[in-house]
């Protein structure tokens, strides 16, 4: 049987990790690898299809999208998205005077444009960003407070809704990040006193719930000030959330600082850079890059944490929605209303995490 050896031997295909796996092979290995797996797939798929059908049936087919009459909604078997259409203004803008809502719309446009511009590396140029932030901040201040240019004055106690959530969140991050960096540096400082002050501060605040810190900001902080001096409640609360945020962020940044090799400090010392020069030009840029994913997580958490202000009576988007849901006519459509608020949070959280992933790519490619 010499002919066997004469046969051309089929050459095994070279291993190519990028090769596309045939669909059937993929299905077999990922969904139907064994009898049990196949059974599981079928059951899960059945439940999933049922659920999707329910969502479609409730949320689209039988839903009421537009009506001013809650009874129309009650008659329908599906969702009542009309509650959002009907109540979107008190939900989005809270207690802010109804006739002045256009100011909040304008404010949100300015806010979003400023943020988007500031986040794009193309515009990372202090000569552009500093004037932009000065103009944007003053424009937002004028729009929110009023009292000039014939705009009606609106005190902070009447601010509310999504703009308030945005301001609380931005304030938290802008105030919190520098404090976080200082606390992290303090915890790693060569000075034992600075170290112990930072450790006690960080650990004590991380050990208590955010609510107790908000109580301090609202009820105790005014007692700390000499008679006659007052700090705005909204500002006190923002600072409270910011300090809480800073304590968690400080631990993240400390992790980044610890990852910097000793050689970096020694190299900086050998070219006789001072402590602050070393920190600012050598250590921090690297440390912050290293712990960026964790920093993002806490920034997203900070956005979720702004919802805690419901407990001390600020009218953020959640408080405003809860208040709207007290309306006996629309009260039964709470699921739709809360779903809407949840989607707002999910949207901003998702946008933040997408951006963070992009920044990680930029860092990996050496762009920033």
């Amino acid at each position: 049987m010499t002919s066997v050896s004469q046969h051309p031997v089929a050459k095994p295909a070279a291993y190519n990790p990028d090769a596309k796996i045939p669909a059937l092979v993929w299905l077999k290995s990922n969904l139907f690898s064994s009898v049990w797996q196949s059974l599981l797939t079928v059951i899960v798929a059945a439940v999933l299809i049922r659920f999707c059908w329910f969502v479609l049936d409730w949320g689209v087919i039988n839903a009421v999208f537009y009506t001013a009459d809650p009874d129309t909604c009650r008659a329908a078997t599906g969702a009542c998205w009309a509650v959002i259409v009907e109540k979107h203004r008190p939900m989005l803008f809270g207690l802010y005077p109804y006739a002045e809502h256009w100011r909040l719309v304008l404010m949100m446009v300015i806010y979003l444009v400023t943020i988007v511009v500031s986040l794009s590396p193309r515009f990372w140029n202090l000569r552009l960003l500093v004037p932009l932030w000065i103009v944007a901040t003053s424009a937002i201040g004028v729009l929110m407070f009023g009292g000039v240019f014939g705009l009606r004055y609106v005190p902070t106690s009447e601010w509310g809704g999504l703009p308030l959530t945005m301001l609380l969140f931005t304030g938290t991050v802008l105030i919190g990040m520098p404090i976080a960096v200082l606390l992290a540096l303090g915890r790693r400082a060569p000075l034992p006193v600075a170290r112990s002050v930072s450790v006690v501060f960080i650990e004590a605040l991380r050990g208590v719930p955010l609510i107790t810190i908000l109580f301090v900001a609202v009820n105790v902080f005014p007692l700390f000030l000499p008679a006659g001096v007052e700090v705005n409640k909204l500002l006190r609360i923002t600072i409270g959330i910011a300090i809480f945020f800073a304590c968690y962020q400080a631990e993240v940044i400390r992790g980044g600082l610890q990852a910097i090799p000793r050689g970096q400090y020694e190299a900086a010392a050998s070219i006789s850079l001072s402590y602050w020069q070393t920190t600012r030009r050598i250590i921090l840029p690297q440390a912050l890059r290293i712990c960026l994913p964790a920093i993002t997580n806490h920034i997203i958490a900070a956005m979720k944490n702004t919802s805690f202000v419901i407990i001390i009576g600020l009218f953020d988007i959640l408080t405003a929605t809860t208040a709207v849901m007290q309306d006996p006519l629309w009260r039964s459509f709470y699921i739709e209303a809360y779903l809407f608020v949840a989607l707002v949070y999910l949207f901003f959280g998702y946008a933040l995490s997408l951006y963070a992933r992009q920044v990680e790519k930029w860092i990996a490619s050496g762009r920033i």
Binding site: L31, P209, N219, V220, A227, L318, Y338, Y350
Partner: protein, 398 residues
């Protein structure tokens, strides 16, 4: 530091004032003294302001208010309490409620979190995707929103007459969750005692088996003996008491239920909200733990013909637990802290009652200090236990 002013013989040469001023150790000392004095002065200043403000507003200071009569009722209490009791006792009621709802939340979050975490690393693509979607959704919606949502769901449930029936075992209505429970029997206390004794016995037996293995190299499988030791004594006590098997089923009567046990709507909503929120984080922790065991180890274990369940028990689990337990505990602590949002739903936890006490007495500083101290103690005790556990399971290298 190399002291340039010190000559070879070790004799100090005269130091000029500038040398001292510019020496690093001196400056370090100055910075620290300045910082310490600054912090102390700030503290003193704030303290003085507080004292001044309080005396101007005629608010008492100190913890004397804890002994005053509270004059308010609390909806849910685990210990005897009435409005004639003291503020101190009211806060104690709140603490018990915090611990109860947290314990229930931890149990639920752990079960769901582990299930989703295992589904997250499943070979089944569909299941994996669903688990990912679940995690992303529950983690990214604020916990307060979730609690408020469940509160609204329960408030909008039908009244007891039209309550949702749960497989004949209980009801879900706007009065909360009502479920069947074994009728109270003196045997239960003894069964509980027997259970504790069984657990102690099992631990001792496992320890002895380990000693035996270390001494002789012979391995005794302790899984089933331990199960028998833990559950055997309570079962025997139960039989000894004549196997009492009366179960109190809830029944609709008038506008409410009789029989069974009822958990209040506030408790259910708060527990559901904080437990589901945490379950997303726990699922991710479990996934990371399972994935921490390198594939090669599992393959190596299989290649020495270890049975799949032993691969799980002796190779994957011990390593996974080492990775899972520390973040899991800090997740539990943050669940306890999240339970402090009870006030949005009206559940009388420590912060809710503390808030009432604060409003009634005006003693904000002391009331908030009590709340903070309690949570701080919970955090510190947990992290001490965690350090102890870490030392126990740390990889012992030669």
């Amino acid at each position: 530091m190399i002291d340039t002013n010190q000559d070879r013989s070790g004799k100090r040469s005269a130091r000029s004032l500038t040398d001292i001023l510019y020496s690093e150790s001196f400056r370090t000392l100055i910075y620290q003294v300045a910082l310490a004095v600054g912090v102390a002065l700030l503290g003193l200043y704030l303290y003085q302001n507080v004292i001044e403000n309080l005396s101007r507003q005629n608010i008492a200071t100190g913890f004397g208010f804890l002994d005053q009569v509270s004059q308010f009722e609390i909806g849910e209490t685990l210990i005897n309490y009435s409005s004639r009791d003291t503020y101190g006792r009211a806060l104690m009621v709140g603490l018990m409620n915090t611990l109860t709802v947290s314990a229930a939340g931890i149990a639920v979050a752990t079960v769901i979190g582990f299930s989703i975490g295992i589904a997250r690393v499943s070979n089944n693509w569909l299941l994996q995707r669903i688990a990912i979607a679940y995690v992303e959704i529950v983690r990214n919606i604020p916990v307060i929103l979730q609690v408020i949502f469940w509160g609204a769901v329960i408030r909008n449930l039908p009244a007891p007459r039209q309550a949702v029936e749960l497989w004949g075992l209980g009801f879900l209505s706007n009065r909360g969750l009502t479920f069947a429970l074994p009728a109270t029997d003196p045997a239960h206390v003894w069964m509980f005692a027997a259970l504790i004794a069984g657990i102690v016995l099992a631990i001792v037996a496992c320890h002895m088996a380990k000693r035996h293995r270390e001494a002789t190299g012979r391995y005794i499988d302790m899984l089933w003996p331990c199960v028998a030791l833990v559950f055997g004594p309570p079962a025997m006590v139960w039989l000894g008491f004549g196997a009492p098997h009366d179960i109190s089923f809830p029944e609709r009567q008038g506008f409410n239920f009789v029989g069974g046990a009822t958990i209040s709507p506030e408790f259910v909503a708060l527990m559901a909200g904080i437990a589901l929120y945490s379950s997303g984080f726990i699922a991710e922790i479990v996934r990371a733990g399972i994935q921490a065991t390198p594939r090669g180890q599992i393959e190596a274990a299989r290649s020495i013909a270890l049975r799949p369940r032993f691969v799980m028990r002796y190779v994957v689990l011990p390593q996974a637990l080492r990775v899972i337990v520390p973040p899991l505990t800090s997740q539990y602590v943050s669940l306890v802290k999240n339970s402090s949002i009870a006030v949005v739903i009206g559940y009388p936890d420590l912060v809710n009652i503390g808030n009432t006490v604060m409003n009634q007495t005006g003693q904000a500083v002391e009331a908030i200090a009590v709340m903070m101290m309690v949570y701080l103690i919970i955090s510190i005790v947990t992290s001490l236990l965690m350090n102890f556990y870490n030392r126990l399971v740390a990889i012992k290298e030669r």
